[in-house]
Symmetry: C3
Subunit: 350 residues, 3 copies
């Protein structure tokens, strides 16, 4: 088996908490077919999507009293990957299936596809906004036919907004300011401050939604934070010009956090969990709806490009790409990713 | 060429007689693209679906006076795979295409994809109900994206009814009775008798359709007969409890024969001919219709599961499966299949 | 890399001139993904469909002042495959992408996928009708899932009209006259004259459209001209019988030129540019429309057959085909094609 092209010893978002109803959910993560379900206490379990009886996918079954019941012949699987019971059978000798460490936190289900012994909930990313009642979050998920590195590149170089999102968040001024990129341990931060510009349509709407004047010059900021394996949080906002950008008083700005969890499905496809957290207008459901649908429309604009870029890369494997100053964020993030993969390949997989 | 993963020296159902109109029918059988048509006497012929002229599929042509006329340049093909004529050409030296032994019997077209010298109509299965005026048959065909072994497994272990067909023919009592399996030569019989139970919905309808009370306890039986290469006949029925099951008087029972002819298209797909023969209410066209549509709905419930099971197996080639007592029917049938394939591989293919 | 299965040093039609609007056009030609666009002077350029920055397809971008602007990050590409500019970047060291020789002539965009040093506009086919005001042309393009050789075969053996196009241009008399085939240098001509026959529906319509009686016996001719790499021009027409066929007076005949430019997309698919040029009724737009739609319907009849023939050939690679007298046109054309490919393989590709 070829070495994995993703860090395996890492927490990935597998689903939003709300995706997990009383039915099992089948989803391939990092090339591994998994099934997710809630046990009798409501805790989420993640197993290999394979019934040890005849190899049917457990995800086609149902959940009964916290056990996953295979939809073919009724084998009952426990959260640890061991068969609990099967009608008319003694199951003691049944081979177990893999159980993956899984934690539900911050409204998401996180799974660790690699060595279970190394799974540590303390390594889950801290998302202060997720438990802060002064903040609200809304988002959704896309399946995209591109490798996760291409999506990390996309989010760590926002100059693409001018071209891909010209009608919403893009504006020529983005290009006039070179981004500044720095690496802090396993994190990469790339940021850009545009001063005294006109707010683009998305941000005009956000200013108006916050009750702030939107026809005046603004300072606009974008601070992209990459953390392994493939999470990108982007502080974004606009404030009336000259008031210090992110430090401007709340009644003179609109700001938020673009949340991007990128989870490999296969080498060439991802589950892309996107959303926005914000601390203004948090009780305004119409605004929440409007922002989410705006994001949906904007992020949809990237899909065709990313998928065709992926196809181009498959056609020319190994062909050199340029690493410009604007690409520094993605380039540094890839270095960290490659280093983590390399480190995993030294010790044999479990 | 890899050895075939099916017995080739065997009769397979290629089509229902009614599928063959005045147009040729192209269908891949055991990995071999074939074309079926009727000659001037109405006899069915089966040829390789390849025009010796330029390699067009003969199945896109038409039948004229019992000859198969290629739809590209009009080559006329006889039932023996030899070119009969072609406008403006002498055809004596044209290379023949393969002609496969074919017999039309019992309302089906049977083809022998292997060594023609061994084809013997006497080896066609005897289907007494098919020519008995006291019986009626109705059915249809599905193309399913799974290997034929998985469908044999499915039909030789009816405990799956409880889970896959919970709303129609499934019932928990199936699991309370272990099946009894025996091998007789190249046949496998696995049977189960459930006594003093409540009839499931499909059988209630059948009882009512037969004018028999359906709200009383019944005995229910299932006797699955596997015969090579991949036919499964299942005697099924219910009778008022305590009257001897299949031996109960006709006015106290409803019984029939589930007919399953499984024909490999490729290693991972089949033509699944399914139906039911019965000896009650045989002139009741509405009942016939109702039973067939009931079967269609029930058998449709297996498809997603079988196709995803196949995908799971392709992902984990050779991964061990369990052979439980309930699986004995399928396990024994596979042994017979494997033995037949092994025997064919000893003598070189023709 | 395997040697190309097409002549590469040749002019292929990549698009109709009218296909090129103010947006770039992505199209794979001879296995090479290309992008076509017009520069500021309206001249067409053809480049590799790959942005040297991050490998996005340039064809998803837009054309601004004659430069191709990548739709991802705004890199500006010139007609020579060199980067002209990019916001905030010095581009001098950017690697170029391939630029392909391209000429717009006769209403089509012609591209030379091979060695640019050998590209010579003098080798473009002469199409006198295209610039003759006494002629009019109409046509369209299909993508077909078959290799270009199969389409050349199709057009160089019109006996297939009797079977594939029985309702329009086919007629049994085609088979009564053997074609006469000759090779002249790199060209192949195969012709057939049918005398004193009844005109088939398409030609009846053409005669009526020309104001010529259509219910009288006619002579009908077909003269197919193959020229490399894969162009087929077919002189076609009918005239009242006994007047010398193509030499008959204009008021006793209807004639035209079927135009077929076959451009490989991949080994097993083509861009098929088809149309008809004619010198009668040239100002009759309704007739033009009617002829084009008639051709569209007729040529559509070939598609299923060609695509399934291709699949049959893939299933039986190298299986022998017959080369009958009617196939001589295609057989000779293939010989010329093979010779050209062989000649290219002697000198190493650029």
């Amino acid at each position: 088996m070829r070495p994995a092209d993703f860090p395996m010893n890492a927490w990935y978002v597998a689903a939003a908490s709300t995706d997990l109803s009383d039915r099992p959910l089948g989803r391939q993560i990092c090339g591994l077919p998994m099934v997710f379900f809630r046990d009798a206490s409501g805790n989420v379990a993640a197993l290999e999507d394979w019934c040890p009886h005849r190899g049917a996918p457990l995800s086609l079954g149902r959940v009964v009293e916290g056990r996953l019941v295979c939809g073919y012949h009724g084998l009952q699987m426990g959260c640890d990957g061991k068969t609990v019971a099967m009608p008319g059978q003694r199951v003691r000798g049944f081979p177990p299936v893999a159980a993956y460490p899984v934690v539900e936190r911050h409204g998401f289900v996180w799974v660790w596809p690699g060595d279970a012994a190394q799974a540590d909930a303390a390594r889950l990313p801290a998302l202060p906004w997720a438990s802060d009642p002064a903040w609200v979050y809304a988002g959704d998920m896309f399946r995209v036919g591109c490798g996760y590195r291409l999506m990390v590149d996309n989010l760590m170089d926002l100059t693409h907004e001018t071209y891909v999102h010209a009608d919403s968040i893009g504006q020529p001024e983005i290009e006039d300011v070179a981004p500044v990129t720095r690496v802090e341990g396993d994190s990469v931060i790339t940021q850009r401050l545009m001063q005294g510009i006109s707010a683009p349509p998305f941000w005009r709407q956000a200013l108006r939604g916050s009750g702030v004047a939107d026809e005046v010059p603004v300072d606009r900021w974008q601070v992209c934070h990459f953390t392994p394996p493939s999470h990108v949080m982007i502080e974004v906002g606009v404030a009336h010009a000259g008031l210090g950008g992110p430090q401007a008083p709340a009644d003179r700005r609109a700001a938020g956090l673009v949340v991007d969890f990128i989870t490999p499905e296969t080498d060439t496809s991802i589950w892309y969990f996107w959303g926005m957290a914000r601390s203004f207008g948090i009780h305004d459901a119409a605004l929440t709806h409007s922002i989410r649908e705006g994001q949906r429309r904007i992020f949809s604009e990237d899909l065709q490009l990313l998928e065709q870029q992926q196809r181009n890369h498959l056609r020319h494997p190994g062909r050199a790409l340029l690493g410009l100053n604007t690409d520094a964020g993605g380039v540094q993030a890839r270095r960290i990713i490659d280093r983590l993969i390399e480190a995993e390949s030294v010790r044999p997989a479990p």
